[in-house]
């Protein structure tokens, strides 16, 4: 049995505002699962229901085989880290970290020892006497993490903990969070709207949209095999266009006057069925780089140098597509306006569920 089970949980605010719809998830002990999605998708509401700050309208939450659905938050034994740090301004760093231990009526010697341990864990020894306002944002969030972990909770919940920090600190702190989570072996749920954060940190990612779970999988699965149009468009850059099935038996598709072979199963589809075709930019390459089954004629519209990657924008029919290639000083790139042939493997051609509308090309990175 999983360590945390969220079974058929729905949350409705007011009369008819559905925040979370029929949410089901099982989290194993020691696993870090991210809830990823845009604002208003229900990820924070779900986390708050696990924390006990919101009660599900229907459904059940089990932790360690115990039904905690209606248990008050102060009895759930979960540590929580908030986006806004939420350190108590009137207390020192040491008092903040030791707050939960004092509530639990632990002896002062034990509290002091634990506070020192936690300060070492977050690489801030000697900061115990400072007040929160004397710390940087990154330091405050590390103290908040230490405070949440001081009681050795069964579970750690992190609600967009890095959103208020600048990019460089965000990257270093997320690595630190992951290291601490792995070291302690604590089960954790991490809420974020940042796909890079979710993909780099998590054992599994739950992509959410409109209160519902779109896809659950490892970061590798989520990125490489998106199952829905939303996941494909939200996670990473994606070329997506509406096409149709040309030959189900030979797994052949047509779009913009071109044909494509796919590795996807088309046996349940008919010739002429509309489908949403998706290809990641890095799965496309110029045909000279290797023989591949899909050759597509295009016109080079723009080339953007992004450091380690060169992004080429091409025109196929009336649609624009991106192609990413690793930067190579000896790479001969075509000129703007050149006709070119690009290619991709059969496995790179994905078919998304819920076809019917084109996904607009993402803005230039």
């Amino acid at each position: 049995m999983a360590f945390l089970e969220i079974n058929n949980v729905t949350k409705i605010f007011g009369k008819d505002t559905v925040a979370v719809k029929d949410f089901n998830l099982q989290v194993e002990k020691g696993e870090l699962v991210s809830f990823l999605g845009p604002s208003g998708c229900g990820k924070t509401t779900t986390l708050r229901m696990v924390a006990g700050f919101e009660a599900p309208t229907t459904g059940q939450i089990l932790m360690n085989n115990e039904d905690i659905t209606n248990k008050p938050p102060n009895q759930r034994d979960v540590g929580m880290v908030f986006q806004a740090y939420a350190l108590f301004p009137n207390m020192t760093v040491g008092d903040n970290i030791g707050f939960g231990l004092k509530i639990a009526k632990r002896p002062p010697e034990e509290i002091n020892k634990r506070v020192e341990e936690m300060l070492s864990l977050i690489h801030m020894p000697g900061f115990g006497d400072r007040y929160p306002f004397q710390l940087s944002g990154g330091q405050q969030q590390r103290v908040a993490l230490a405070r949440a972990l001081a009681l050795s909770p069964q579970m750690l919940l992190l609600d967009e903990p890095l959103s208020a920090l600048d990019a460089k600190i965000r990257v270093s702190l997320r690595a630190e969070i992951r290291f601490i989570q792995r070291t302690l072996g604590i089960t954790a749920i991490y809420v974020t709207h940042d796909q890079e954060e979710a993909l780099s940190l998590s054992d599994r990612v739950v992509v959410m949209y409109n209160g519902a779970m779109e896809q659950v999988g490892t970061p590798f699965e989520i990125y490489n095999f998106p199952q829905t149009e939303f996941v494909a468009s939200f996670v990473g850059t994606l070329n997506a266009v509406q096409g149709e099935v040309l030959d189900p038996a030979n797994q052949l598709l047509a779009f913009d006057g071109q044909t494509l072979h796919t590795a996807e199963d088309l046996s349940k589809r008919q010739r002429g069925d509309k489908v949403m075709i998706a290809i990641r930019p890095e799965r496309l390459s110029f045909s000279s780089e290797g023989k591949k089954p899909n050759l597509i004629d295009c016109t080079v519209e723009n080339i953007t140098f992004l450091g380690s990657i060169v992004r080429v924008q091409v025109l196929i029919g009336n649609h624009k597509y991106y192609m990413d290639t690793f930067n190579n000083p000896f790479l001969e790139l075509p000129k703007l306006g050149d006709r070119a042939e690009i290619t991709c493997s059969r496995e790179a051609v994905l078919i998304l569920e819920h076809p019917g509308k084109d996904i607009s090309l993402p803005a230039e990175a």
Partner: protein, 285 residues
């Protein structure tokens, strides 16, 4: 690494470096105007007070003396009225705090939609004049002997009078901290409601609460209408009574009451400055 020729300062750099006096003069001129404005303000506030103080020293013809202060302080009614007003002020403060703090906290945390209604209720003394309120009290509760034999109606009136000041002070304090997140953080660490309120929320409202406390104190100490119409020997009616029969002693009392109020404000500033973390607003920086 190649040697570089020394860089000669450009004309602009030279001009900036060589004109510190000009910049200093400009700053000083600006400061002078600030001092003039401050001086006008101080004269406006202090001149009447100085005049009152000077007048209070003229009780003996031909020379300055503290005779008016001696007369004022030698009257047992002064100490009685002052002591009673102070006692009622303290009772008012305690009851108002018990009423306002949980209400304001709960409105912030759980019932933000009720804020306009609560704000309207606290504005009562600005909408209903004190004289109307006190006659309403007398008409409604005057028939109950126990209510007129103890200063319950007086304190109730004082509470209504102090509501807008106390509520706004506490409300401003609550707005400055992230009440909901702090509450939830404490809850997730196992804290019960009393612990959250007394160890997390209230300590971060210390300055706000003190502002409300001293405003309430000042209002009650100088209040006249309620005490006079409900016939309680408070400090306000005493000063009025003294003014009717004495010339210099009421001026001495006016100076003393000014000093008391300023003393309270000074105390507030001192306590507020000494509160660690009070300047920090919880949340992202």
């Amino acid at each position: 690494m190649r040697d570089r020729p020394p860089i000669a300062p450009t004309a602009t750099v030279k001009a900036i470096v060589e004109t510190p006096v000009k910049t200093w003069k400009r700053v000083r001129k600006f400061n002078l105007w600030s001092w003039i404005i401050l001086g006008i303000g101080l004269i406006y506030f202090f001149l009447p007070l100085l005049a009152t103080f000077e007048f209070s020293l003229r009780a003996i013809k031909g020379r300055y003396s503290l005779e008016a202060y001696r007369i004022a302080f030698s009257d047992p009614a002064f100490f009685r009225s002052f002591g009673l007003s102070m006692l009622w002020a303290i009772l008012t403060i305690i009851i108002t705090l018990l009423l306002v703090l949980p209400t304001a906290y709960w409105v912030h945390l759980r019932l933000p939609r009720l804020r306009p209604a609560v704000e309207f209720v606290t504005l009562m003394p600005f909408v209903v004049p004190a004289v109307v309120l006190v006659f309403g009290f007398i008409r409604m509760y005057g028939r109950y002997t126990f209510m007129v034999s103890i200063p319950i109606l007086l304190i109730a009136g004082y509470i209504v009078l102090s509501l807008p000041y106390m509520f706004r002070a506490v409300d401003a304090g609550l707005r400055a901290i992230d009440v909901r997140t702090l509450t939830e953080a404490a809850q997730s660490l196992g804290a019960s409601w009393p612990t959250i309120i007394f160890r997390v929320i209230f300590p971060n409202l210390r300055v706000a609460i003190l502002s409300g406390v001293f405003l309430t104190f000042a209002i009650v100490m100088g209040e006249f209408t309620f005490a006079n119409l409900l016939v309680w020997p408070a400090f306000g009616p005493y000063m009025e009574l003294l003014g009717a029969k004495e010339a210099y002693a009421p001026q001495a009392l006016a100076v003393v009451s000014f000093l008391l109020t300023w003393g309270s404000i000074g105390l507030l500033a001192r306590i507020g400055r000494g509160a660690p973390g009070q300047g920090q607003i919880a949340g992202a920086r």
